[in-house]
Symmetry: D2
Subunit: 441 residues, 4 copies
């Protein structure tokens, strides 16, 4: 047993700032309000419902996570955010428009949700082709945009009398931007590029930069570049603020990082994996643009390679053909359906097939992730952690990690990492599942 880390108390109120008040954000906020009102359960949230084992199996000391580590409770969360639609100026109208939750539930929460107003967003249609904003910030340079966002953050904290705040990106997928330009290499070249209004710097990067400058931990729920490049890592170290990303791991990719480790564990070969999605909401519309799809595709395709390590297992995964398709299909509405065909190979290369049809709801799967990230990022900050929070890989399609490491995509390795990080934080023994001593005589 190691010594526990010193953690500042979760005192006062915690602000949760959300760029993008759409389906995910409103489902998250309305859900928290429903739980507070006693008319909903925070299903899917590890911080609220999860337990972890402490000590030996026969000690039976399992503990709820929220009883084990000091987290803000839901009563002390305050929500804010930015959005591009004047038509839905508050969280209630945006939630109704999103159409994820039942009207009868939203009506019970109308008062609380109507009070949460969204702020005009920093936005550039060039990078999200299929959306038509009706209310954006009138700024003429990157620096102006950053200043406006920082001022929003400060006002939000002041007005709501907040002790602390975190930011979780819940906005749309931007067009693909590789981090290969020099400007992303280090903080000094990046800040010069900011000064020069370099067009490779997309809006989500500006949000991340503004958050760090305000000592606000930043987690990125989309596959956008945002905070995932060396200059931003440098800044997060310099300012001692936690960052994490990227792209919430929900539906089909969640399933992939559950199943692929299973096949790999059993050394089953995989010859092909075909994934198609049908979805009918705004996300589907945005991804119907090939440039936005590319950003998402890169994020979705990456997971198998690290889990399976084809270079180490050429007989099993050397020829894996992996294809991902997303189709805009309006009849599905706010729901989503993922269909996967997986061609696996067993003993002597005999072929088998698996088909998976997942009738899922994206925002329902994403909402608890927003909650957990907000609470854990803040916990990290109070525990003196900063820079990349790799222990939160569990929540992301493309987990950010140190450039000299490979990311961990296996959901169960991610879970083990998260849980052992919490145990380490509190000075508990790490779990290795060895357990030979049970059998000692």
């Amino acid at each position: 047993m190691t010594n526990p880390v010193e953690i500042k108390p979760a005192s006062g109120k915690l602000g949760v700032l959300l760029p993008g008040i759409g389906a995910v954000s409103t489902t998250f906020i309305a859900g928290v309000e429903a739980v507070k009102a006693g008319i909903g359960k925070p299903i899917g949230s590890l911080t609220q419902m999860g337990s972890l084992r402490l000590g030996k199996r026969n000690e039976q000391r399992d503990s709820k996570i929220k009883d084990f580590v000091p987290l803000y409770d839901l009563e002390n969360l305050v929500f804010g955010g930015w959005d591009i639609f004047a038509e839905y100026p508050d969280c209630y109208s945006a939630a109704v428009n999103a159409g994820v939750l039942e009207q009868s539930l939203l009506d019970q929460l109308k008062d609380q949700l109507s009070e949460i107003k969204s702020m005009p967003a920093v936005f550039n249609q060039k990078y999200v082709k299929n959306l038509n904003p009706t209310r954006i910030k009138d700024v003429t340079s990157h620096r102006d945009a950053i200043d406006a966002l920082r001022s929003d953050i400060r006002n939000f904290k002041e007005t709501n009398n907040l002790e602390r705040a975190v930011m979780v990106w819940c906005g749309s997928t931007e067009t693909f931007q590789a981090p290969d330009s020099d400007i992303f290499e280090n903080l000094s070249s990046f800040e010069k590029a900011l000064d020069n209004d370099d067009p490779s710097i997309l809006p989500s990067v500006l949000y991340a930069y503004a958050a760090l400058q305000e000592d606000v931990p930043y987690a990125n729920g989309a596959p956008n570049l945002s905070a995932d490049f060396p200059a931003m890592y440098e800044l997060s170290h310099k300012l001692k603020v936690p960052i994490a990303g990227k792209d919430f791991k929900t539906g089909q990719t969640l399933m992939k990082t559950i199943l692929a480790p299973g096949f790999k564990a059993r050394m089953l070969g995989i010859e092909g994996w075909f994934s198609t999605n049908i979805l009918g909401n705004r996300d589907g519309e945005v991804l119907d643009d090939p440039e936005s799809f590319k950003t998402k595709e890169v994020s979705k395709l990456g997971v198998l390679e690290q889990i399976l390590k084809p270079e180490e297992n050429p007989d099993l995964y050397g020829d894996l053909y992996h294809k991902v398709r997303i189709n805009y299909y309006p009849p599905r509405g706010d729901d989503k359906e993922g269909w996967d065909n997986i061609d696996i190979r067993g003993w002597l290369n005999y072929p088998m097939q698996i088909k998976i049809d997942f009738l899922c709801k994206d925002s329902i799967l994403a909402a608890p992730i927003v909650l957990d990230l907000a609470l854990f990022m803040d916990l990290a900050s109070r525990s003196g952690k900063y820079g990349i929070q790799e222990w939160l890989s569990f929540y992301f399609k493309s987990p950010t990690c140190k450039p000299d490491l490979y990311p961990l995509h296996d959901l169960f390795v991610q879970k083990n990492k998260l849980e052992n990080t919490l145990r380490d934080l509190m000075g508990e023994d790490l779990i290795t599942n060895l357990g030979l001593d049970y059998y000692d005589e």
Copy 2:
């Protein structure tokens, strides 16, 4: 880093004794012969194809398991076994009859397979209603049966000049026998029951007893009681022989122990899980008998409960309705198909559904398990391990463990346990996935 355990060398030849020379056994044996002949790959076998990480992630010291721990290589395995059908007196004819592997492959291995003759089996039709044996041992008491089996084992070792041997049960599912009778409670009452020819003692128990008496590690691939009761644990300690079981984890249950930990990791509720199977081979025929099905059903139903812990998570799993059906369907032939419907619940209890169709091949999935168990059980024996080998839970639907512990069903916990056991055996650091030091400055 701990001190490595002292392990006897894998010298000479290892006998692999298989009660039941049917689809699984012949697929296993033919496969090993195919690998030896350079015309097949041992896909699905951790011992042959698996690697594990050693040390830190950035050390890149991943090693093949077979290079890491001292296992017998395939060249030094010798196969033997028992069967009830005079029509298929050797492994070639039995493999042709099983119809799992292509005739053209079997023809290439005809010489090797024809040499492997099966011995007449101990069998009692009362316990496997839908099979009609044509060649069984003429014994009149439990003690006679045990003596005959022990004599078979000794002859087999002598004839083949074997250094060591292991036994892996590959026979049919027997009718259900609960371990609740007093006779299973301890070794003395059990041996008395043996003397009295107690009818609660089924043939697979006699095989296990004979194996242990001959210092042969015993692993049980069916859901039969066999070696899974206190008297047998006592014997395995007394004689210092490893035992493990039970019921090879293949197809649908394998998928269940991959998926359920995934849903649980994300705190997704499960309202219902309906599993149906169609299969057309001898296994399907045997399980068409309700009494054999009961044995299998108990084994199949248990996995979810331990993984999900409904008592700890009543909001998520308190009302889980779990139903498993097996249907004999001749057109499927030697293949098997499992269809699952899973009703899950997310944020605020919103329902989602997952359907999984698994077009699988049972013997193809089971064969590499036989190989791994044979090699690992022998490794355990050479390492001085005995009694229940819980670290091999990875391979079983109903892992045997100490009565005061709960079994571990989560495939990823099982894998972690197996790998850390190997690391411990060789004096390597255990992996906890903490990895905070990568980020130390």
Copy 3:
């Protein structure tokens, strides 16, 4: 063009009498009320939404069926029925209990539905094991039961000032009763058996008998024997009343009679057809009783044989293995899910597979059938038709037909028959799809 048949006008009001005011009946009645109130569409109803072609393809004289043949319109329907539950004495409470339609819709129809009271039913628990009635008629003999039902019918017509009435059985599946006893052979032996209270005569038979005696056409929506035996055919001729049956063709069997004719049309072989269902409502509970399941199974298994004619096509269908399973699965609630696996064979016997997952709603599929049968049975009566109405085979899993004919199960043959019967009734040319004259020069 033949001469049209003389048809009495659809004057006054038509009573629709329903034994069993459960999920199907209430969905049907509430739906008709919703349509009348302008808040719903009668989707699935041929009489309300269907068209048929008249004359040549290039004449473009397609007509709505309801504009072509003289049917009662929805405004002139009056509903009544019998039920066994005192807890749900009217159609509103029964509909709420059934849980098929949304509460918000039912609330809009509360006034109309509350006025429709159900009458105490004739019932015998011996024949429907899993239901526990709370309000049944206190009768001591078959003849008493018939008299009570006839009196109910007369009162219903008088009270509501009805011109005409029809009866459609919407009650539960009774235990299996083969029509092989002598008592079913002719009217005289059957009436003797009625006098003797023969226990082979189940309640649904009494309803049919009572209906015919009151000149009320009778259609049977369950697989019960009810009106499907020679004595009842004789009665329907003697009294000149139409009868039809049996077992509404919805979900999986509907799909089967769509698909099997398709495979047959293309001479594709079928080696196996495995159908499983999961359902969680009262119907599921009733069919969990093996004796009720048998009645349903006989009805479900029959359809393939007639469509495929294995004796004529032994190479294609001689070995067809057809298996149907129904599983009570409460999480599915009022919905139903059917999963089919079909093993087909093409050119040179090469195998292919089809899997069908049908997420359906039984009562939603059955309700429009009740409406169509009520209107068409009455049309038959007004047109002077009586005895078996084979042209309504379209609506049934087990179409009743003359004993010396084989039933027609192919949905498209059934549809052709229904449409040409309507054309014949109105003196229009029958459609043969020959159409050579289009190409004459």
Copy 4:
């Protein structure tokens, strides 16, 4: 009963000419040879295995089609064709390369198949982007190409001493060419365009033209324009030769024209139909080119509209969203898999869903169509029929019909048309399924 048509006898031998000796052609030819050798069954072929009802249902005069109409028998078929690959100069090597049929079967037919040599093809890579021919005719004008093909046809007939011949296009899908140019309007403008080497005239048109000029009936198995425009209809009348097309109806579209008529028959609404395909063979590669895909997409999308008639049924089909995707996926090899999601609507607009997974084999489904078309086109010719043979719509995704008619896509209407055409040809009563007389007293 009408007078039968006079039909010339099926004397001597019938040549079957196939542009494109690839997967479909070789599967067809090898299959016919297998049937002749007694080692295969012509499953899927109506001409070989189908029966049809003659007279009343209770006359039981069902007849095999081949016993009813005078067709060439398989013994008298002679095969020939053109192809673009020098690597596979005969039918055996092409069949091995196609990889559809098992090697062991092909080996048994090697002698027969090796004798069938393919002729160099007329080809233009501009219209089939993803194929790289290695042996094409060296022609410099449309007229040269036609002359070369006509000369091939004459030589083929002479060499093989054939009485008659038919041509069935089995080549690839060409890029999309609408028939909207003036040159397709009538024969005179078309022939002028031929003279001018108009680039809108693609190779498959030249084959059709050559066939007609040689009095060879022409059926088109691809969605190419080929013979489907007014000028070619005019030519087929002028020369009195039958034509038919287009695009063999196999896999997913076959299923669609089975299912959609079923939903329509029951007046079930359809909100969306999403179809995706994965396939790994040459067809998949060709269709990976967007221009070839467009030709196929037009053919695939058309079927629902005619069957459902949204303009007549706006409440049911007015908003139908229909999307078709084809994905090149090499692991599927020569097999194909179609997955469909269908969103249907029932009573009061309640939603239901159907998922269909079809593990099919394209060439296995197409081969018997080639056979039937060859035999029926020749029958048409011997019966004095010419021009568009609409009665063969049954076999096509996009049935050609007179411009002032709408095509018939419903498989069951197509079947009825085909069968009644055969009955009419032989002077039998047409079947209307009325059958009221069975019930006359």
